[in-house]
Structures are given as C-alpha cells and as structure tokens.
Symmetry: C2
Subunit: 179 residues, 2 copies
C-alpha cells in the first residue's frame, strides 16, 4: 500500500528527513485531535481556554488571553461563543469594574473532564504501534529536542492566534489577578 514516490526527492527520501517527518506527523496529530474533540462541541482553542480556566475561575479575559497566548480582541469572540454554548459566564469582577470575571458552568466542568479523557485516548492511540518499552523513549527523546529548541506549550498550533499587539503598551506587563 501507499505510493512511496519519495525516493524521487533529492537524495534523501522525504520520510527519512526528521524535519519533514516531524512536521507531517505534527500536523496530522493536531488535525486528529481537533476531530476527536469535535463531538464535544469544542475546538482545541476552546478546550484550552476551559482547561486553563478550570483551576483559575474568576480570571479576567485579559489574563486568560495572556496565559493562552491569544489577543484580547480574539478572546471576546471565543468567550461569546462559549457563553452561547452555556459553558462560561461573564460576571462583574470583584476588584476591577472594567474587567469581567469568567466562571465555568457545571456542564463545562464535565466537558473539561471528558476533553482530558479524549486527550488521554489520543495519546494512547498515537503510540500504539510501538512496544510498551519504546513509548517513554520517544517521549523522552522528543522532549529533549523540544526543550533544546525552546518549544513551550504556549507555542502550540491551536493557540496560535493574535498574540502580538502593536498597541501602545508602556509597561508591557499585566499582573495576575488572584482568587
């Protein structure tokens, strides 16, 4: 099966090139996670939002946006939709009347739980072609590569939206809002 025409490419077959292999696999994996999440009515970025919010309820949109690496402008639409889905609520912020305190609904907490299970299944299926003993090996090797290259959770495909504002920000840093 599969038409391996890669040998026509410049000496090294494409699938023997680490970079090509990694980027191809990475995209396929991201796409598949998106599909697995779809039945829950969530896109990856929305799952990430809910998951980040779960241990930090009451956060402002701005601080959540910072944590996710998205711009606050994009945050508005995300929260709009999640609110329509009955997953988050915007409440007045106790310490800052400009801000909205975000809260999860009970339904959302269930969804986050299910989302993590989907991720667990995805992870398990992903490496199912390898021997039990080999799985921690790849993860460890990949992790070392990722660390050496400064890959952080923040740079994730799903979270890649508008994160760099050119607006006039003098301090350049917003502080955490507790509780």
């Amino acid at each position: 099966m599969s038409d391996h025409r890669d040998s026509s490419e410049g000496g090294t077959p494409a699938m023997a090139r680490p970079a090509f292999l990694l980027s191809s696999l990475g995209l396929q994996v991201a796409d598949e996670f998106t599909e697995r999440l779809r039945p829950l009515g969530l896109e990856p970025i929305k799952f990430a939002l809910l998951a980040h919010l779960e241990p930090a309820e009451g956060s402002s949109q701005q601080s959540l946006a910072d944590a996710l690496g998205v711009h606050r402008n994009a945050m508005v639409g995300l929260v709009d939709e999640l609110e329509e889905q009955g997953l988050v609520q915007r409440r007045p912020h106790p310490h800052d009347r400009r801000a909205k305190a975000l809260h999860l609904t009970e339904h959302a907490r269930e969804l986050v739980e299910r989302g993590y299970r989907v991720a667990d299944e995805h992870d398990a299926d992903l490496l199912s072609a390898l021997e039990e003993s080999e799985r921690p090996q790849v993860v460890s090797l990949l992790r070392r590569v990722a660390e050496a290259r400064g890959v952080s959770p923040r740079g994730h495909p799903c979270l890649t939206q508008n994160s760099g504002s050119v607006e006039q920000t003098s301090t350049g840093r917003a502080d955490e809002e507790p509780e």
Copy 2:
C-alpha cells in the same frame, strides 16, 4: 528557564503528552523551515514544486498539482509567481495543446540544490541536542508511528491547499503525461 505552568493541566503536564509534544514541535519545525527557505525567495510549497519538477520536467500543471496535492486553480498562481521570479517557464505541451509543459530555468536548478542543502542543515540542527547514536533511533521510532498512521509526504502542512475539488469529474483520474 521557561515558565512551566503545564502542571496545572489535568494531571498530565502538557509537555509529557505525546500528541501535544508532537504537534507543538511539528509546527515549530515547519515554521523554522519556512524561515530558512525565505532567503532563497522560496516558500515551502514553491520549493516542493520545483523539487518535484526537477526530475520530471515537461510535466503539465495538472499532473504536478496532483503530485503535490494542490488544486490546479491554486497551481496557476504558484506558477505565475515562479515564472515572474524567472524560475519556471510555461511552454506548449508537445502532445496536448490544452496543457502547458513546465520547465525549470538554470537558476531554479541551483535553487533546488540550495534548498536541499537548507533542508539538510535543518535536519542536522534539529536533532543536535541528541547523541549521535540517538538520532537514528528517533527517526526510526517516528517513522514507524507515521507509517502506522498512514502519514504520507502528500499530507504535509506546506502542501495542504485546495486538493479536494467538487467539480464534475466523472473518471476521477488523470493519466500521467510522459516527457
């Protein structure tokens, strides 16, 4: 260094999840390749086009589009730009007056050569954090995972454009045009 706040995520830290690790790394790698290719005046899809054309000069736009997994509509713009860059030429096709036979210029052949070198360097740098002996290990492990999941060069991020036409195609198959 790096603020590892991943431990806040549902039991398993994000960077310990194979799927998250792979998709994050994959995106970063793809982005970096794009950057490394930029000085050549090439985007990945254009490099792929030239590289595919190199051992198959005289191909029609349609057959090249099929090989790359892009739609022929998108092909037009790509070839337009490559022609403006003085990298490809559209000549009359010897056997089919509807088609254009694509040919590389001498400059393009040099660029393809340089592009492959960029890819080689990228591959080398990518795994430089690992021991010599570990590098073929990751590649082998990843390749087995990729094969088990049916990941082919065709599904590459760079090549992901409009490949599914809904137009009326009865036979659904175009034949190769030699020489």
